[in-house]
Subunit: 367 residues, 3 copies
């Protein structure tokens, strides 16, 4: 069959394909199985029993095991990759990431994205920035249809053709209601009998503004990231196509496969979980977040949390709103340069930062 006509498929959009106001209804959709749940709740050492202990989750008024915010984020975000960032160089910023209805095993998540802004890079003619707003809903058409997450992000995207005209411009974001669903506080429930299942020192009363908590554990990532990323339907080739990298290593960050940003995002949440997230009933919003350095197989990830503020949670005297900044870092060989916050021979590299507002239980009501 030497006379076959060859069709070289391209996937994903390039910079010149995006138009302000354009809406993508993403392909696929994803039903949350117990397989996904086990893999992604737990590779990151999440310790909140809402995601691990069905007895605890039901006693609090959830229907059963409840997806932690990191899992919801991984599933929802990955649905947008093919259309938005398959041909991206980097994800620049997460903005106003809000959580809504709880996500349970068996729920099906589908996602839409609206293009808000397209602009060229000032310094690199083959790149530009796309700003999008995404909405993830569950169980469309069913009685429990609900928004589970909304977020914006800015992403640096390659042009297919350096000389192509852009559809530069801007539209306003939609107002998408995404209120965090929380179970009612019911004094008749015996919450205290469950208090030993969470950390004794991560109630709202325990946090002090102006402190930084260095979380004790580190976790080394391996080439497992290729498998994890595939299972999420994240199709970006910089995470899984070693041959593409080998052909032109200088074109790619670090000259090797880069770990999908959702992995350190969720891993930092997990590492902080025993100290910060264990007694949370939900994450309300992540106002802003970004990756500040790439992560590669072999790196060990650590996390810290800065306590920025504490506020009452409106209408819920049993809860407080904790404002925190989650920081991720790794260590690299310093090649002689000394660093104050790293052991001799090493330097500390920040890889991730995320501002969080979390609904945290008060000891006065729960323990």
């Amino acid at each position: 069959m030497s006379e076959l006509r060859i069709i070289a498929k391209q996937t994903g959009n390039f910079l010149e394909d995006f138009r302000p106001g354009q809406v993508f209804r993403h392909k696929g959709g994803k039903t949350l199985t117990e397989g996904l749940f086990a893999t992604f709740t737990e590779f990151a050492m999440t310790s909140n029993p809402l995601a691990k202990n069905a007895r605890y989750a039901r006693a609090y008024g959830f229907r059963g095991l409840t997806a932690p915010p990191g899992l919801v984020m991984l599933v929802a975000f990955s649905q947008t990759v093919e259309d938005v960032s398959e041909n991206a160089r980097a994800n620049l910023e997460y903005i106003d990431m809000r959580f809504g209805a709880p996500v349970y095993i068996g729920d099906t998540i589908e996602v839409e994205t609206k293009v808000l802004n397209v602009r060229p890079s000032s310094s690199r003619p083959n790149l530009g920035i796309v700003h999008v707003q995404s909405v993830a809903r569950k169980n469309l058409g069913a009685d429990d249809e609900a928004v589970v997450m909304t977020w914006q992000r800015k992403v640096q995207v390659y042009k297919r053709d350096d000389d192509a005209e852009l559809h530069a411009g801007e539209v306003a974001p939609d107002d998408v209601p995404c209120p965090l669903w929380l179970p009612e506080y019911d004094p008749a429930r015996d919450y205290k009998s469950l208090a030993h299942l969470t950390s004794p020192d991560s109630y709202f009363e325990d946090f002090e503004v102006g402190t930084r908590i260095e979380h004790s554990r580190g976790r080394t990532m391996t080439s497992e990231h290729i498998h994890l990323t595939a299972v999420l339907d994240n199709t970006s080739q910089v995470h899984c196509n070693q041959f593409m990298i080998d052909l032109d290593p200088k074109q790619y960050v670090g000259g090797q496969l880069i770990i999908f940003g959702g992995i350190p995002f969720v891993l930092c949440l997990g590492l902080s979980s025993p100290d910060v997230g264990d007694n949370a009933l939900g994450d309300v919003v992540y106002p802003t977040g970004r990756h500040t350095a790439p992560l590669f197989a072999g790196d060990t990830v650590f996390a810290a949390t800065e306590i920025l503020g504490k506020r009452d949670f409106e209408g819920r005297p049993d809860l407080g709103l904790l404002e925190a900044r989650l920081l991720g870092h790794k260590f690299e060989r310093s090649d002689g340069a000394e660093s104050e916050d790293a052991p001799p021979g090493w330097k500390k590299t920040r890889i991730f930062e995320l501002d969080r507002q979390i609904a945290v239980k008060r000891r006065s009501h729960y323990a």
Copy 2:
């Protein structure tokens, strides 16, 4: 306990153990859990929403998430490994692989195999070829008991004793009905409202005989293959016993652990899925297929599909029967030799080919 009598267990059959007409009712059986489903549907980037989005699958008339053909194949095939190919050197050919009833989470698959032909190798006295026919059924004894898959294969098997007599000979294959179950087309269903969940350009009308589609993505396999193969109950030692290889590397293909053929089989199906399988309702039959080169950890797999033919699907004006050839390849360093279809310094090595007949939706009825 120095006087213990030692029993060195052997597993699997050798060439001289097979007899034409012999039937193996394979041990174990396997219930399809959500864990298996998540792992094996998604490591390969399968994009058909029947396997990922329960809302979509139910709207089409399936009971829920439906195992893609690649997952059915991996589970059913692996059940036969201990008896048929634990002591094999290579799997030579897949023949007449047919799919029947849909497989859902919770279904239990059990497999039988009949030996059709045994013959010695003409050139190598320690090897021969066994030709078998296998049938996989689900939910034996239950109301929904059904054949889910039948296939034949030829496998090159080692002798235990080079001088042993063979039970050479041949019997005819059984006639095993295995009609592909497909949901009825119901004009009252609102299929069009789901059309955004699949590729817009992979309907039956979109394919043109005489074209080859180069699928855009590559996927690097890692040592994850050892774990994946174990989870499938595939016990063949050439996939997971590095010490055995280290003792006598020259005896083994490539002198290293070889990746179980089911992995590239399913990975090529997955890589082709956005372009070819996304709008399929089912795979009808794979008339023939084979592995043409081994795959090792570190290799990046690519796929292409040649469109061989298009036919009406009898009794189903909403569908067409697509005849295609799925090809898998990887790139290897060329050591100087130049190649037309590979970048400089590389050569393209075909690893897999599979003829497929697929029941594909027509845009006229579904979008």
Copy 3:
């Protein structure tokens, strides 16, 4: 925010924190999902159909797929790590590990541990030994609440401060009833029709006291162990924090990440399964067990079983009680020294031993 107060979190207890009689009600708890089930039943090549084939399990009188003892052990044991052994150097001995109620998908396991004995090391001032007793229960507060496992273990734990006073001393273990639940033998059931699903030569009648069965398969472990250990909520840093090792390799066994002992424990059970565990209805007790050498990524694990005794199973003429010793080993380069039980150039290193009492079906009743 340069004036942040830094809180360096520590997790887990050090030797001086333990007091005889102290009780830990461990955090978290864990609901057994189908994801956990698939991963941990099958990475180890377990072949007992009670854990793989729901049709078989139900036909025998179980509610459905039944967690094999190795999975129950991994989940229950891991719950105790943060409190008991996060700061341990080594796990010295498993003692009187008993299995009770069957564990099904959806069951939630929670664990308590009592400190029995604390004593200093005679030779190393920064270490000592803690002896604990743990009890794992399922579905607390529900109708099917039950003890699923009890065990004792001795663990070598670091001191936080070499000069700290210990709470040395001893209390007696609790008497915790943990009878193995077994389905009734019912002559009306057609067990024989299922006999092809298990090994034909692993009934009670097949074992002979004074034999050692060398199991045929080996399984190479990879860096997958980091992921597996995280998914189990085992937080011990020696299994997953490569940076900690790199800072001071000499402080750690082998100067590299060590594989969590639960992994070879369960892997040896799995490798022995086709020959010894396939026709068991349950494991009754493991009187004693220990790790005798560390396991690292890249090692290939093999197993053997010595038959120590055979006894009637009280009240169950259909079963026998098999007393066996499970042995695990790997091979290391011998650097010149020859060894009788290893190929030239290699030496055989025992890594694990476990005494088992198993309830095994009699062929007379089941096949």
